[in-house]
Amino acid sequence: MLDITEILETNQMVMSENLDVRTITMGISLLDCMTPDLDQLCQNIYDKITTCAKDLVRVGDEIALEIGIPVINKRVSVTPIAIIGSSACKTSADFVKIAETLEKASQKIGVNFLGGYSALVQKGMSKADRLLIESIPEALSKTEHICSSISLGSTKTGIDMDAVKLMGEIVVETAKATADRDSIGCAKLVVFCNPTDDNPFMAGAFHGVTEGDTVINVGVSGPGVVRHALSKIHGENFEVLCETIKKTAFKITRVGQLVAKEASKRLNVPFGIVDLSLAPTPAVGDSIADIIQEMGMEYCGAPGTTAALAILNDQVKKGGIMASSYVGGLSGAFIPVTEDSSMAKAADIGALTLEKLEAMTCVCSVGLDMIAIPGDTSASTISGIIADEMAIGMINQKTTAVRVIPVIGKKAGDEIELGGLLGNSKIMPVNPYGCADFINRGGRIPAPVHSFKN
């Protein structure tokens, strides 16, 4: 029989510690939509998405009502569009037409975001890949719910530096195209090294070509729950600290597992994975930085922060893996600056710098995430930031990413407000010294050796 204290504990997690399921993401393969006729392709894509995901939002809401735990987002990820449009699209404008079709489909089914306006170019760009990348600024300025991700490198292939250079320019162009809205387009654009095919989180979700026709992936949340659990063991040693995180992660992930299984059953779509990532929101108390600070840091970013984050990330995995039958996606801890109010505050007072964030990305998922930088940051400097992060991922065999927002017309210290889950922060300063000669070399960085690990 259930214990009353267990019921109280769960309900307190929901009511005062922001426990929720962050997203149910339905992955949909669009491979069977491919045709050389653009209008027909758009129709096929619209029909497939609106058929497969027609009940997604309703089922998500039903499950949330029955278990009494909010399911915040219902989302869709699709096969990378550079592949789907490779035959039909002759110009960048053709790809924008697909983006508009995806927007129409996402509005019809009522999802929060649709990811997969993507290209995988870690070893080189095809003509279609380049056209899609060049279409991103227009596609993201003309749509509201579409997210774009580009894979620029991997441990097995090295890094495509031509694409890194191009993406620095595209990030700036996207910022300019949405300059009237604090350059929000860049919040929906992320570049990856070693991306995963089953990531349910935006902006990086896409449905990999090795996946089945449709799949249900679930992302959990719960930084507030972990912080609350840690607040009860103040001053205890690392063994107690680690055990507490592990046990809490187990409980959080079990919620995700139940929601994933239930959604899979009701939608008659196979269950893919649960992503263990602790995802913060701008809500007070729903913060990764708060956990780091609860562990003993005066502010997130102080010396010791990387070690604390490494502990958090590893213990979340250890607890979460036991709780779910299939774990996948990014499964770590996210450290987005604008989406985490305490992270934004630490950056504001100077405790947390871009360089420290880069170090933190070595031990957690995913990367430099949701960082507002001055609008006059050059494309080559952004490419340099991207190259550094890709190198960390390539050498350390992990997923890394960059989602920076050069806010046009604003400088370091100015405020930006992106709204909703995207949050707000002050603009962080960027190292003023250039790297253009390095970025302009062109070509590829070769794949690293897989031995002699030091």
Partner: protein, 95 residues
């Protein structure tokens, strides 16, 4: 007989205590063939905190129907009444 986990619902109630609160909730359960399996109640500083585990195997309406009805009962007695499937607590607290 043990109720199937899928038909077990956890009902929680919080509000200012006065006569007739449990009677109102239990009457609703009796009228709708909902069987109470476990019940626990405390009052702290004039506030009542009650938890019930009930079996809805013979209940005729849907889950959203139950939630709406309990909202109405709660409103009548000035309390907040919520219902959740027991499965979530089993998942979180049992291996």
């Amino acid at each position: 007989m043990t109720a199937n986990i899928n038909t077990k619902i956890v009902v929680t109630l919080v509000g200012k205590d006065h006569a007739g609160i449990i009677a109102a909730v239990c009457s609703y359960f009796a009228e709708n063939d909902i069987n109470i399996l476990d019940l626990s109640m405390t009052t702290v500083d004039e506030f009542i905190n009650m938890m019930m585990i009930v079996d809805v195997a013979k209940y005729k309406k849907t889950f959203p129907g139950l939630v709406n009805d309990l909202d109405a009962v709660g409103e009548r007695v000035g309390c907040k009444v919520t219902a959740q499937k027991a499965e979530i607590f089993d998942m979180m607290h049992r291996i």
